[in-house]
């Protein structure tokens, strides 16, 4: 074979290998989705799975648990992620506005580095931190402390996506607001923020999805509960904790519940992600029109 023939042959071979490796990367996604759906569906099709909270008493040996459910975990995830959003989204949006509108400030580089580092901070360490801060002083585990731990996780995501969305808004809008004599805060909050809203919402949704799937920071804060608990001052269950706890138990019926909870979780999280991608695409189209 000629030298050029060999080169072309090698080119084709490497190109093929790159695509094969890429498809290989998608196999785990397909497998995770497939097994979660097939193993979780039998539990999820019973309506009581979503409403019933407690397990029937089953010590020392759990028989077939037919009317058990994860209603308490779904409610707990809703409450804790809700409280966490109330804390993290306003703070994160204001922080993001600072990063995007006052780029020149040297301090903003430190904030940016800090939030990027925080995204990679092990969530279990955040759990330990909140334990020392909000559980030890009050002498009991609480959903509130779990929500604060989740908000610490959400904060850097909201800040960085808000910054990205606000920075997309063309300068003309800013200048026209200032030319009309509006103060900076009204320009930022009443002109720029509404224009950047879809991007900001995307960031908030992604942060909510991340928080809804986190287990580690809740282990020593919300602690978990086997009954429906609605008091944010007491321990509370969450969906990912249900998956974690039930999956490790030796009872088939509880493992099935774990798969069902995993299915609910994955539908929730991937659903939020797909919606946010759609919102983001609108934002980019919108910013192009301005």
């Amino acid at each position: 074979m000629s030298r050029n023939g060999r080169r072309l042959y090698a080119n084709g071979a490497w190109l093929g290998l790159m695509y094969v490796l890429t498809l290989l990367a998608l196999i785990p996604l397909a497998l995770v989705l497939w097994f979660t759906v097939t193993k979780g569906l039998p539990s999820v099709i019973h309506p009581q799975f979503f409403f019933n909270a407690e397990l029937p008493p089953c010590e020392p040996r759990c028989p077939e648990v037919s009317n058990a459910g994860v209603g308490h975990a779904i409610a707990g995830t809703g409450i804790m992620v809700g409280i966490a959003s109330l804390i993290a989204i306003p703070v994160g949006v204001l922080g993001g506005i600072y990063l995007a509108e006052y780029t020149v400030a040297r301090w903003s580089n430190w904030v940016r580095l800090g939030s990027d580092v925080m995204v990679g901070t092990p969530s279990i360490a955040i759990g330990l931190f909140i334990y020392a801060f909000l559980v030890v002083p009050f002498h009991h585990f609480s959903a509130l402390s779990g929500a604060v731990a989740l908000s610490v996780l959400m904060l850097p995501i909201v800040i960085r996506t808000t910054e990205g969305a606000v920075a997309l808004i063309p300068n003309g809008l800013r200048e026209s607001g200032l030319a009309l004599g509006l103060p900076r805060w009204r320009v930022s909050l009443q002109l720029i923020l509404p224009a950047a809203a879809p991007g900001v919402i995307t960031g908030a949704l992604l942060a909510v999805a991340r928080a809804a799937g986190e287990t580690a920071p809740l282990l020593f804060t919300a602690f978990g509960a086997h009954l429906l608990q609605l008091d944010p001052n007491g321990p509370m269950q969450a969906l990912p904790m249900t998956v974690y706890q039930y999956a490790l138990l030796p009872y088939k019926s509880l493992q099935d519940q774990a798969w069902g909870a995993a299915l609910v979780l994955i539908v929730l999280v991937l659903g939020i992600n797909l919606v946010s991608r759609w919102v983001l695409r609108r934002q980019i189209a919108l910013a192009g029109q301005l």
Partner: protein
């Protein structure tokens, strides 16, 4: 359309004492670096009893005995480093291949689907990977990788005694979990390579692969290295999925298939049951080691990625 930093500097900024808004948002934004410092200081304070008692011996001790109050972190540190690096070794070739494919110019349907797929992989909660690893990946890998390898390659010192829950299977699931980080950041870095470089190579008659291997990947080297370290940081700190599949044995195992422990999973398993003055402090010290290592790794990686993309912009 993007607004450059220069354009935003040109916007008239209100000055003087009346710009309270800037002060407000500045203070709010400062919450993030402040939190980071607070987390480290809090953990340091909580770990003090253990630091004072064991000193540097904490890092070399191999015993973990809450009854006699003797705590050493060596097995957990070993497990954490081993699983993270093995996961990286598995994920790196695949991650770079994905990045190369996704960074190709033009937008085809297939590439769009691949990109969405990788992003969804990043969104799957850790605990779902955990239950999948425990009931699907672990048994499969035990039967089709570990047992054949152990029987045919038993003379290799580190291979043998297969187990469903162990170091190797934990590394496998970690590799899947860090893949999106690795490929998304590498893709951005590869995309930032100046087009002129690529066009020069093509004009000289280089094939697609020669351009990629000899021109694009070398000039994206620093950034890809940064992405790799960032992925390493994720692997070091991953808790729940690893806790479910690593086997939870506080030992330094003799083979890569055996059960072990990581820093994060020791904390996850034992912290709520830890009593006495020393036991919780020792666990918090594990957390302190973990957070300090990931902090250093992350800062290093971010600086590498940023300087790589800035350099690419300057040469463009």
């Amino acid at each position: 359309m993007a607004v450059t930093a220069e354009a935003r500097i040109a916007a008239p900024a209100a000055k003087g004492p009346r710009d309270g808004f800037r002060t407000l948002v500045g203070i709010v934004a400062t919450a993030v670096p402040a939190l980071l410092v607070l987390i480290v200081l809090t953990l340091l304070g909580q770990a003090m009893p253990s630091i004072q008692r064991f000193g540097l011996g904490f890092f070399t001790g191999t015993t973990w005995n809450p009854v006699t109050d003797v705590f050493g972190a060596a097995p957990a540190i070993f497990g954490t480093l081993f699983t993270a690096f093995l996961a990286l070794a598995i994920a790196l070739p695949v991650g770079i291949a994905v990045a190369v494919v996704l960074a190709e110019p033009g937008h085809t349907r297939l590439r769009g689907l691949i990109g969405t797929g990788i992003e969804l992989l990043a969104a799957i909660p850790s605990v779902v990977f955990g239950i999948w690893a425990l009931y699907v990946l672990g048994p499969w890998s035990y039967e089709h990788i570990e047992v054949p390898v152990s029987t045919h390659l038993a003379f290799v010192p580190w291979l043998g005694s297969p187990a469903v829950r162990g170091l190797f299977n934990a590394s496998l699931v970690l590799a899947v979990m860090i893949l999106p980080t690795l490929s998304a950041i590498s893709r951005d870095v590869i995309k930032a390579v100046p087009r002129g470089l690529k066009e020069n190579a093509v004009a000289l008659g280089a094939t697609w692969w020669e351009t990629t291997w000899r021109v694009i990947l070398p000039s994206a080297r620093a950034g890809i290295f940064g992405a790799t370290i960032l992925a390493l940081g994720r692997a070091l700190g991953e808790t729940i999925a690893v806790t479910m599949i690593i086997g939870n044995q506080y030992v330094i195992p003799h083979t890569i298939f055996q059960p072990a422990y990581t820093l994060a999973s020791v904390i996850a398993n034992e912290f709520t049951e830890a009593t006495g003055p020393l036991y919780p402090a020792a666990l918090v010290e594990l957390g302190l080691v973990l957070i300090l290592v990931t902090l250093v790794v992350n800062v290093l990686a971010l600086l590498l990625v940023h300087s790589a993309s800035r350099e690419a912009r300057l040469t463009a």
